[in-house]
Symmetry: C2
Subunit: 406 residues, 2 copies
């Protein structure tokens, strides 16, 4: 018998599109929830095509790598929310779901009769989750945004880059993905509360809240002291050494935030040039950063990355090789800890990153590859108790995007 | 009467230190859990002092801004885990906790008799959460690491920077903070499962898993196509425009990932130089990125950041001003959505970033400022059912770091 999963029996009706929402509902799906992904007829989630040429889409079986990475363990139905029949079907489905998630602009779901109040009237204990860009209230609530916009707005761009040069983006959609776990956290907290009390509730998260959470300690420092941090390349203001150092074949990061670790680093590298009294104290190392970096670089340059990692790793100094995306993806450690999942999509094997935790008592697994657009429409409706006549009538009325026959 | 919180009545025994673990348990505390932060006598969490001079520590009331930002809604006890009495007290406390969290190196808790099996023997339904750097198994399990090490190892550094220049770090500890929400997600999923079945379990998360999650779509693209992305400054490979553009007083990001949005951008800026057929299709814009950036920059340079944001925001094009940390922290939107909490610590008002979501039925609030080291030792022990004699004996035996009297 298959082991129960943490969210077995929980149904999530998911109207979210592109990155943050779908990444979050994928985690819920990995945990065992029945995630029903609602797509716009014919088009579906825009992430299916994002940044991929037509030729590439052929290679990927018709969808982008990002869609494949973030949409497993979901079923797909198409609903035309511009049609009364589509909205009627959506409402009936929401009435039978434990959790409803959307990331439409503020007001859209209300206009469609799919706001929290409308659904709560049919489903008193529903957990209704809004995922927005800047939140549901305030002067910017109506403004749309994406990951990069929030990297700019939050100040994340302003602390990322080389000193004296323009800012650069965090290379991945960190705010989207952080937001996805904020969504998961909020949904799970609300599910736990509902399990104890029977009460559903409205919950929300936003890219703005996630971006601010990522900058927490920068903001508190600014509020308390007025300090406005600037980018420092790969260094930071907390300690030294704490940055990339060159090696004979690439680079490594070396971080020794306390004096013991620094001494172990000096001893393991065995170079007298580093064993100076003026480097022994963390605050002195911060003050003499430039000098320190020069002295340490002169040592690391003579070694391979592997040599530095082995010597410093052995004495528990924080050290790591600067990997390319390919080296990182192929590094055996992530596979060794269950961090990679595999499945078949359109007859091709696909590898993807697992949800970022393990529950040993209720292990996660891939039950379904990312769905084709609308592939599960009939099965979903049957599971939710729609009878064949109802489905036929809804289809005739254009609920699933098929035009009403002339 | 105070409203029940989502995690009211849940006790979390928290041995974690520095950023990721404490940031995660703070969210659990915000949700209403009783989080008991265990600190090393005299020293406590290293984050208390990180990167702060002695003079600054005076200003901050003895602790760093990052400690203040990430440790509210916790109580503090000191335990000397090097002493048998300290370990005995820890085990007795774990026996009465719902969740135990630690981020010690692999094996340390087992050596102290505080591993999962030992605690489960006394507390069958405990949720035991290990937070590690590279996971609990595999060739790198024994290696310590921190945020920057995982930025390097995961390839995040390799996609962050200007083209043709060295990589730069993501300016904030994004992997630590993402890991904090992975911890929250795992704990909440396990609590939900326990509430339904009575079963506790062992759970884990790691900086490695969180870093891989942040790079999900890069890895899948690499595994499927062999593509190894490189840094592109503030641009990315998914669409164009999708980067920072100069204005007369700073910079803005403009992102128009689809053709409709691009056309609205062109119309709102009202410059014929942008209304070219060769820019109308998203794939053409990607191919002609350089040309497009030049043409759009020529337009934005003549406007203030505010003007660009207003014109493009009004037509729902993704746009945002590049804020400094100070501008971001003081921007009214984050306060408008409940994204800032305030409390008093050591007689000074402190502002900090809220947990990154809202639960409207069970709102979060700050009940306690970040605790002084060991400030709640006696109260905690009393609450957990230790009698005065037991506490006195433990103290005498050095459990809380006070040496046994001669």
């Amino acid at each position: 018998m298959r082991k129960q999963k943490a969210l077995s029996g929980i149904r999530v009706l998911d109207f979210s599109r592109v990155f943050a929402g779908p990444a979050g509902t994928q985690v819920l799906g990995d945990l065992g929830a029945d995630v029903i992904k609602v797509g716009e007829p014919r088009r579906g989630d825009e992430a299916r095509y994002l940044g991929v040429t037509d030729e590439e889409l052929q290679t990927f079986g018709g969808v982008s790598p990002s869609y494949l990475a973030l949409n497993r363990n979901k079923r797909s139905i198409t609903l035309d929310l511009a049609s009364p029949a589509g909205r009627k079907a959506a409402l009936a489905m929401a009435a039978k779901s434990d959790v409803v998630v959307h990331n439409f602009r503020i007001g859209a779901m209300n206009r469609w009769g799919l706001g929290h109040e409308a659904i709560k009237a049919l489903n008193a204990s529903v957990i209704y989750c809004e995922f927005t860009a800047y939140g549901r209230e305030g002067p910017m609530a109506h403004i749309g945004a994406n990951d990069l916009a929030l990297q700019a707005h939050s100040g994340l761009l302003s602390v990322t880059g080389e000193p004296g040069r323009p800012p650069v983006r965090v290379g991945t959609a960190a705010i989207d993905l952080h937001g996805s776990l904020a969504l998961v956290s909020a949904v799970l907290a609300a599910l736990f509360h509902r399990e104890r009390t029977g009460e559903g509730q409205m919950i929300e998260t936003s890219l703005l809240m996630s971006s601010a959470h990522l900058l927490s300690y920068f903001y508190t420092e600014y509020w308390m002291e007025g300090t406005v941090r600037k980018p420092m390349g790969t260094a930071n203001h907390l300690s030294a050494p704490n940055q990339v150092f060159p090696t004979s074949d690439g680079g490594v990061v070396i971080i020794a935030p306390n004096d013991d670790m620094w001494q172990r680093c000096v001893d393991a590298l065995g170079e007298r040039s580093l064993d100076r009294p003026e480097f022994k104290n963390v605050l002195d190392r911060l003050r003499r950063r430039e000098e320190l970096v020069e002295a340490l670089s002169a040592v690391t340059r003579k070694l391979t990355s592997r040599e530095v990692v082995e010597r410093l790793g052995a004495v528990k100094v924080n050290v790591a090789k600067v990997h390319s995306v390919g080296e990182a993806a192929d590094d055996p450690q992530i596979a060794a800890i269950g961090g990679i999942v595999t499945f078949e999509a359109d007859g091709r094997p696909v590898k993807a990153v697992a949800s970022p935790f393990n529950l040993f008592g209720t292990p996660m697994s891939v039950e379904r590859p990312p769905p084709g657009l609308g592939a599960d429409t009939d099965e979903i409706l049957r599971d939710l108790g729609f009878d064949a006549g109802e489905v036929a009538a809804l289809r005739e009325q254009g609920a699933f995007g098929v035009k009403k026959s002339a």
